[in-house]
């Protein structure tokens, strides 16, 4: 029974993991190929050819997770009809292009991207879709899970300038990238450049950066300083209070013993009263002055002469061998 339960729970976990994996796929970049501008320099830099050397529109998908997932059996489409909730799964599939199984290229490792050519020609292989992206028009791309029901991601693309692409540069931020920044199968880097560019333009001497960064560094260490200053004070205070409480308790005990000794009511178990009080006095002296948890840390190198260090004690008598008879 236990075995069956563990197998079932493993299966449940495995199924959940699969679903989580699919949700880690995000549309990353879209490029619309315009045959009319193929000769222009802009289009040349942005074009990305398929296995047959043909330029076509493409859709890039990224595995945003840090583990490997397979995108096989997922669906891509630009047909808004699939949003109809009353449509059955088999009917939806007819409006979409399914990513075939059995191709190792569809297995995406962490942060890896895959590019599908929207050329309407699935006979050309796994990376080709059964639809084309409209030129000069806006459209929406939908990425569906393998059940053709769960929408994993979608993006609305306005009509793009020739040679440009539409790319995701942050989690939910998309930007039109110029031809020289189009990056099929590579990270979208426009965002990074923009930050550096912004600093270069608005803070050419680095003063703002210095003020901001020093402010942050000081903030961190001041917060740590404040915390440990207060905490250290509290710890010291607690230790002092504990010590005062202990001393008070001993004082009370000692005064009680002295009082009892004066009255002669102390049970000395046959020990002389003077000896008894002397022992109590010695114990109190040791407690208040002679004992300590923490060493003073003062070292001395002043030599004290003892018989242990006496040179005469270091002399050794040469062992005498017994003569064999």
């Amino acid at each position: 029974m236990k075995k069956i339960l563990s197998i079932l729970s493993s299966l449940a976990v495995a199924l959940t993991m699969n679903a989580q994996g699919a949700h880690d796929f995000k549309l990353n970049e879209v490029y619309v190929h315009t045959p009319a501008c193929c000769d222009s320099s802009a289009c040349k830099t942005a074009s990305y050819v398929d296995e047959y050397g043909q330029s076509a529109s493409w859709i890039e998908i990224e595995n945003i997770s840090y583990s490997t997932h397979d995108i096989r059996n997922c669906f891509l489409t630009i047909d808004p009809a699939v949003l109809d909730e009353n449509m059955s799964a088999p009917e939806r599939e007819t409006h979409m292009s399914q990513i075939p199984a059995g191709d190792p290229r569809t297995s995406l490792s962490a942060k890896q991207r895959i590019t599908f050519f929207a050329d309407g020609n699935t006979n050309r292989g796994t990376l080709h879709l059964n639809f084309k992206l409209p030129v000069g028009e806006s459209f929406t791309i939908y990425l569906f899970d393998g059940n053709a029901v769960d929408l994993l991601d979608s993006v609305h693309v306005e009509a793009l300038p020739a040679g440009s692409s539409y790319a995701r540069i942050a989690d939910a931020e998309w930007q039109v990238l110029e031809a020289d920044k189009v990056t099929p199968n590579a990270p979208n880097i426009a965002y990074h450049n923009d930050k550096i560019k912004e600093f270069k333009e608005k803070d050419p001497y680095g003063i703002a950066m210095t003020l901001m960064c020093m402010g942050v560094v000081f903030s961190c260490l001041i917060l740590l300083f404040v915390f440990f200053h207060i905490f250290g004070w509290a710890m010291n205070r607690a230790a002092k209070l504990a010590r005062v409480r202990a001393i008070r308790a001993i004082h009370e005990q000692a005064s009680k013993v002295v009082e009892m000794a004066k009255q002669g009511t102390t049970e000395t178990k046959g020990i002389d009263m003077e000896t008894y009080t002397a022992v109590i006095g010695l114990a109190l002296h040791e407690y208040f002055g002679g004992t300590h948890d923490l060493e003073s840390g003062i070292l001395t190198i002043q030599q004290t002469h003892t018989t242990w260090a006496d040179k005469s004690h270091e002399l050794r008598v040469t062992p005498q061998h017994h003569q064999a008879n």
Binding site: K195, C213, F218, C220, L221, F228
Partner: protein, 410 residues
């Protein structure tokens, strides 16, 4: 050919044709050997060497000499020095998968730790496991000196911008001022990977030269009387405080600068392993064997990455000049900040400005310099434990600074 003779002997008879054939065979064999040897010679370092390689090999040898003879950071300079030599052995690029930049070569696999930035956090794990933050907790105001010394980074950033570097490159170079090799490698691998080799070598070189750079600046900015200031012994720190420090430190710093998470997270993780007193074995491994392995691979691959074509450029000269400025500014700002603090501190609680230099994170070398300079001024003035406070604060400060720069520019 051998033939039987009537007297029973064999006689060797070779026709001219056969002789020619043999000669031809021997000639072709010789040709074959000759051509193969000639081909082999094209693969050797002698056939491919350039002056730049020789210069870089000399630089590597100089680093090894500094480490062995002058005892300048031998644990770092020996791997880096040998790495420089290794990376500059000339060879013919024939797809043998031997070079650092050739995919799947052994060196390339080791280099991924530098390129992808996972060696520096591992080094920070070791640093955390070896560092006692007790001196800092005992006197928390010393943390501010560690923060002030980070001005070395941003002073160098401004100079680098003025010298024409891009903001990302300037940030990668400026982090040298933190005097923290792993942080410099981490940040430059993210912001300016093409300058990483020069930045790493520069950072480690100047860290080794801390005893040469800092004392002059410290003396220049202090009077004889100030150098004699005696500081009260710090209070004893409880184990609870020590255990709490990595947790609170992690929460505060990473909530403010999440981009510093890889470095700060590993630093405080290592320290918690040490201070928890329950994971002594792990702390021991992190601080010794693991740290040693990573330092070896890091040093070697960083050295290898300084190939002549990439390293012998004007940018490298500028980086070395900026690195020196960064160290001087960092030292000076630490010392000056102590002077400013002393204005507000009551008599008897003044701080010796000689511990200001320790705000850079060259642990424990910078603190040792404070100690040595303090002893020179007063043979009974021991500053080592006081200087350890700003020194370890500098480690946190430089990691935070790197995180902020990364957050702004990446």
């Amino acid at each position: 050919m051998y033939h039987n003779t009537p007297d029973g002997y064999y006689k060797l008879s070779i026709t001219n044709f056969q002789l020619e054939l043999m000669l031809l065979e021997s000639v072709s064999t010789m040709d074959f050997i000759g051509s193969k040897l000639a081909d082999f010679l094209t693969y050797t370092g002698f056939a491919n060497v350039e002056w730049a390689n020789i210069i870089m090999i000399a630089v590597g040898a100089f680093f090894i000499w500094l480490a062995i003879k002058k005892d300048f950071e031998p644990l770092l300079l020996i791997p880096i020095g040998l790495g420089i030599i290794l990376g500059n052995i000339p060879f013919k690029a024939a797809g043998l998968e031997i070079g650092l930049y050739e995919d799947n070569s052994v060196l390339n696999i080791f280099y991924q730790g530098v390129r992808l930035g996972w060696y520096p956090p591992l080094v920070f794990l070791g640093i955390g496991a070896m560092t006692d933050f007790g001196a800092l907790i005992a006197n928390p105001k010393l943390m501010l000196i560690g923060a002030a010394a980070q001005f070395g980074i941003f002073g160098a950033y401004m100079i680098a911008l003025a010298m024409g570097f891009e903001p990302n490159q300037a940030a990668g170079i400026a982090i040298i001022g933190g005097a923290d090799g792993p942080t410099a490698i981490f940040l430059s691998s993210k912001l300016s990977p093409n300058l990483m080799g020069a930045i790493a070598v520069c950072a480690y070189s100047y860290m080794a030269l801390v005893p040469v750079i800092q004392p002059g600046v410290m003396k220049l900015l202090t009077t004889k009387e100030q150098r004699k200031i005696k500081m009260k012994p710090a209070r004893q720190v409880s184990q609870t405080e020590k255990m709490l420090f990595p947790i609170v430190g992690l929460l505060i710093t990473t909530f403010i600068v999440p981009s510093g998470l890889p470095l700060l997270g590993m630093l405080f993780f290592g320290n918690l392993l040490k201070e928890s007193t329950k994971t002594t074995r792990l702390a021991k491994t992190a601080g010794s064997a693991l740290n040693d392995i990573v330092v070896m691979l890091l040093g070697l691959t960083v050295g290898c990455s300084t190939q002549a074509s990439e390293f012998l450029t004007l940018a490298t000269v500028k980086i070395f000049a900026l690195g020196a400025f960064a160290f001087i500014i960092a030292t000076a700002s630490g010392v000056i900040f102590v002077h400013i603090m002393n204005i507000f501190l009551p008599k008897g609680q003044k701080i010796n400005p000689l511990i200001g230099n320790a705000g850079v994170s060259a642990v424990p070398m910078a603190a040792r310099i404070s100690q040595n300079e303090g002893l020179k001024a007063d043979p009974h003035n021991y500053l080592l434990m006081h200087a350890m406070g700003p020194n370890v604060a500098g480690v946190i400060g430089s990691a935070v600074a790197a995180g902020v720069l990364l957050g702004f520019l990446s």
